[in-house]
């Protein structure tokens, strides 16, 4: 029993890591009042460009290719792709004042298209499958801790057996928490999301905050797509693999109440819900219905918080609405 639970947690972390990046990026974005529904597309782009970065790096470097370098290149490539995607979104919604929902959906379509296009184009141009060598694959899926730590009973597996991306995600989450709660800029950003007109009156440069939060947030989300392709999908482009992951991340943002630290356990919990059907079979619950649990839980959270109407558990007040100074 104990080992089943440990194994479940370890497996949940694998998928949870993917979600954590998607969610953390979107939290940062939504804190600025921008509801970027393009996460799905952003993660697709991150996945495709992350794989492309690592693949072409290995192709160029040959046998000399090193794991850490490939990981860094993949992260950077995915991050850049996500920034580019959300820069489009930012320009349209912040500068050109387009509707956020529609722009986000357009970005979803566009990003999914770009991701699949790049993934398929690599295959066509390479004339076969596109995959990393076993050494690099190993580097992407190995833990950074020495075997001694992993072998500690119980906690060894739970704490030390994950990929570098998991620990990096936790660092991002903690940094984001500190940024939002402890720094001047973080508080300004929160203010922008809560009440742009007040912030504007107070002399905060709304446009700058919105742009930076959305673009950096998009970059973080995109890393999630890369982590998915490079860990759970086995370093191979997967045409449909990422579909739905971005939307799950959007759901998770609600579940986490827009708090970065909640994203750590929230994403592991969601990760567990997505794979639980393979490990804990409950006879009278059909497996497919397991998979909608995260969405049901999110709906319940959403409804409960709106019913209670408690001040600190709401979406950023201006979420989804653009700010026009002239209409103040």
């Amino acid at each position: 029993m104990m080992s089943t639970i440990i194994a479940l947690i370890v497996a949940a972390v694998t998928f949870g890591t993917v979600l954590m990046y998607g969610t953390l990026g979107e939290i940062l974005t939504e804190k600025s009042g921008n509801l970027n529904l393009g996460v799905e597309g952003i993660m697709y782009m991150g996945g495709a460009f992350g794989l492309a970065g690592a693949f072409y790096y290995e192709k160029a470097a040959g046998a000399a290719a090193s794991g850490p370098a490939a990981i860094i290149i993949a992260i950077l490539a995915a991050f850049a792709a996500g920034m580019a995607a959300s820069a489009i979104y930012s320009f349209l919604t912040i500068t050109l004042r387009a509707n956020q929902n529609v722009t986000g959906l357009a970005l979803s379509i566009f990003g999914t298209g770009i991701g699949q296009f790049v993934g398929e184009f690599m295959r066509v141009s390479e004339g076969g499958y596109v995959a990393l060598s076993n050494n690099l694959k190993e580097a992407f899926s190995a833990t950074i801790f020495p075997k001694v730590f992993v072998n500690i009973p119980v906690i060894g597996n739970i704490l030390f057996s994950h990929t570098v991306f998991f620990y990096l995600a936790i660092v991002v989450a903690v940094l984001m928490y500190l940024f939002l709660k402890k720094t001047k800029w973080g508080m300004y950003l929160t203010a922008v999301g809560e009440s742009p007109s007040t912030s504007d009156a107070a002399g905060i440069n709304i446009v700058k905050y919105k742009y930076l939060a959305t673009i950096i947030g998009g970059g973080i989300s995109a890393i999630g797509g890369m982590v998915y392709i490079m860990t759970t999908a086995g370093c191979v482009w997967n045409h449909e693999g990422l579909s739905g992951v971005g939307w799950l991340a959007v759901a998770l943002v609600i579940f986490c109440m827009w708090r970065p630290l909640n994203a750590i356990w929230g994403s592991v919990l969601f990760g567990a819900m997505m794979i639980m059907y393979l490990r804990v079979a409950i006879p009278f619950i059909p497996t497919e219905l397991y998979k909608i649990l995260p969405y049901i839980v999110t709906v319940i959270v959403l409804v409960l918080t709106s019913m209670k109407n408690s001040r600190d558990k709401q979406p950023p007040a201006s979420l989804g609405n653009n700010y026009f100074r002239e209409e103040r």
């Binding site: 004042r97 357009a106 298209g113 699949q116 066509v124 409804v303 709106s306």
Partner: protein
């Protein structure tokens, strides 16, 4: 801070613009999008002219292709019509995907279990009716919570999509499964299929009728007026004595019901069976169709046809030139970005600094 110095470019809301120039800008933005769409083609060493040629050929050049294109356009159009009243009301219903799916589920129930007991036409009517009810009820859930507790509808409707899709996935492998273990629901018998008119399922007639009805509803009825008032300002609507919550629920029900009918058209007119991907992104794409058409029913016909041409044509492009079919999504995305941007130039004019006095700048 920004206000302290004169900005290089300043914005002012345009008061009036000639309708012809408005539509000129919009058509221009489509052309710009098509030009930008050349970029990925050039990057992948494909001649954009022949690529666009193939897209047009593959979607319009033969009766078969044209039929397929129209079949693709029908759900986009129908669903855009469904979304229009919600968006007019500034109720951001992005749950059409789920409402289509639930409509399809209801229609499929009758198609699977009643097809041998009810004659053709009544069966189709029952399927359409129950699909509308199912879609409407599915939409009513978030609407209720919005009206009652002001629950964020964008996020709620989004979640409802995946719940609906999950339910179908369960039906596919569970109670409605055909051959054991296959996860496939059997194909509909002929009596549960929509008849074809001019070679395309008669869903296109339903969609065109809905275009007219929706135009009348939005522009000529009291309910349409109420929707417009709420869209402008909820407070105004309240002062005017409107029951905002009730109107939200009513509008969402209508919207969901139309989406449900679209679901019925998809399963009964195109797919002839049900599977979890039945909505296939239509619910999302049609939102952009509705928005880009300025919620104008007739413009939706054009926009949904353009997107259908791209989608069908790209398929042929993949067949003939090995260009990944996802090029359709890329060009669609670019098209949406361009058309969204162009609204800015319709609504605002740019005033450059050198044109004005210094005092005016602050």
């Amino acid at each position: 801070m920004a206000a302290e110095k004169t900005p290089l470019i300043r914005l002012a809301k345009r008061t009036e613009m000639k309708r012809s120039s408005m539509w000129m800008i919009r058509v221009g933005s489509i052309l710009v999008a098509l030009l930008l769409g050349c970029l990925p083609m050039i990057l992948t060493a494909t001649n954009p002219f022949s690529a666009y040629g193939v897209i047009i050929q593959g979607s319009l050049s033969r009766p078969v292709y044209l039929k397929q294109t129209i079949r693709t356009a029908i759900p986009l159009l129908g669903c855009a019509l469904a979304i229009a009243p919600c968006f007019k009301m500034k109720f951001w219903n992005i749950g059409a995907e789920g409402q289509i799916t639930m409509g399809a589920v209801a229609a499929t129930y009758f198609a699977l279990f009643w097809h041998d007991r009810i004659p053709h036409v009544p069966l189709l009517l029952i399927m359409a009716f129950t699909a509308a009810i199912a879609g409407g009820l599915w939409a009513l859930i978030p609407a209720f919570f919005k009206a009652r507790f002001n629950t964020n509808e964008t996020l709620f409707t989004l979640m409802m999509n995946y719940i609906a899709i999950g339910i179908v996935a369960w039906l596919q492998g569970g109670p409605w499964e055909g051959r054991k273990g296959s996860q496939l629901i059997p194909m509909f018998s002929d009596s549960a299929r929509l008849p074809t008119v001019f070679g395309v399922n008669c869903g296109w007639i339903i969609a065109l009728v809905l275009v007219v009805l929706m135009y009348i509803y939005m522009n000529k009825t009291k309910q349409g007026y109420e929707i417009a008032v709420i869209g402008d300002s909820v407070n105004t609507a309240r002062y005017a004595g409107m029951n905002v919550g009730w109107i939200i629920m009513r509008t969402m029900f209508i919207s969901g019901a139309i989406s449900g009918i679209v679901g019925f058209i998809i399963v009964s007119g195109a797919n002839f069976t049900l599977y979890s991907g039945v909505a296939d992104g239509v619910g999302f794409t049609s939102i952009t169709v509705a928005w880009l058409s300025q919620l104008n029913s007739f413009a939706m016909i054009v926009i949904s046809m353009i997107l259908a041409v791209l989608e069908k044509g790209s398929n042929t492009l993949q067949t003939r030139m090995s260009v990944p079919a996802s090029i359709a999504d890329i060009i669609t995305g670019i098209l949406l970005f361009c058309m969204l941007s162009c609204e800015f130039f319709i609504n605002y004019k740019l005033i450059f600094r050198h044109k004005e006095n210094k005092e005016e700048g602050v």
